[in-house]
């Protein structure tokens, strides 16, 4: 069975500071990993994904994520946070045989002005 853990329900960061949203996963074999963002009363928007190759993945809106196989982690990062980055962030995983995504419980990011 595959699973995702987002250990922090809430992350607060000051505008202009770097931000990190943590994600660890468990899956049989090699994973495909995804980050999505959800703004209030909206659907999920795709940010980035890791498929293979370079462990540092760059995505939309200046976000990036680092795949670490030994630590089974896929943390989301941004060098300089904006107030507009405040939203709910979801990490998701699938193995290379299944179509089903398994989502984490989400992390609410608040960027303080």
């Amino acid at each position: 069975a595959q699973s995702v853990a987002q250990p922090e329900d809430q992350v607060n960061v000051a505008e202009g500071n770097p931000l990190t949203v943590k994600c660890t996963y468990s899956v049989s074999g090699n994973p495909y990993l995804f980050w999505y963002v959800q703004y209030p009363n909206r659907g999920l928007q795709f940010l980035l994904k890791y498929i293979t190759g370079d462990n540092l993945v760059k995505g939309s809106y200046g976000f990036e994520a680092e795949f670490n196989k030994s630590q089974t982690s896929f943390h989301l990062k941004k060098p300089s946070a904006l107030v507009s980055d405040s939203a709910l962030y979801f990490c998701a995983v699938t193995d290379r045989t299944a179509r089903q995504l398994t989502f984490g419980s989400g992390t609410q990011l608040t960027v303080l002005p």
């Binding site: 995804f34 994904k49 498929i51 179509r99």
Partner: protein, 115 residues
């Protein structure tokens, strides 16, 4: 480009009533999915479909029925709504070519309240 749409956006119903949530996508994606979002649980897969007339259960299928007679539509029916089905429901779709690496694209959601 409409993308993926859901209707209604908001629905209030009573216990025991049948409710159908609609999902429509304009990308001709092969795969479509229904999720429910509940606080503390993230998104959980209810049903998914690989193509017209092919559907399969996800993590939480009990109490739900799906059909897919056309590629672009994937309705979700609650045959006899219960209060535990109060949730926000999201439809998603993805292409087939890349297998499970394909990105899923989400609709705006339907907020359902069962009284």
């Amino acid at each position: 480009d409409a993308g993926i749409t859901q209707s209604p956006r908001y629905k209030i119903t009573e216990t025991g009533r049948q409710v159908t949530l609609m999902c429509h996508q304009t990308w001709s994606h092969s795969y479509m999915f229904w999720y429910r979002q509940d606080l503390g649980h993230g998104l959980r897969l209810i049903y998914y479909s690989a193509a017209a007339d092919i559907t399969d259960k996800g993590e939480v299928p009990d109490g739900y029925v799906v059909s897919r007679s056309k590629t672009e539509n994937f309705p979700l029916t609650l045959e006899s709504a219960t209060r535990s089905q109060t949730s926000v429901y999201f439809c998603a779709s993805s292409g087939m070519a890349g297998g499970s690496r394909e990105t899923q694209y989400f609709g705006p959601g339907t907020r359902l309240l069962v009284l």
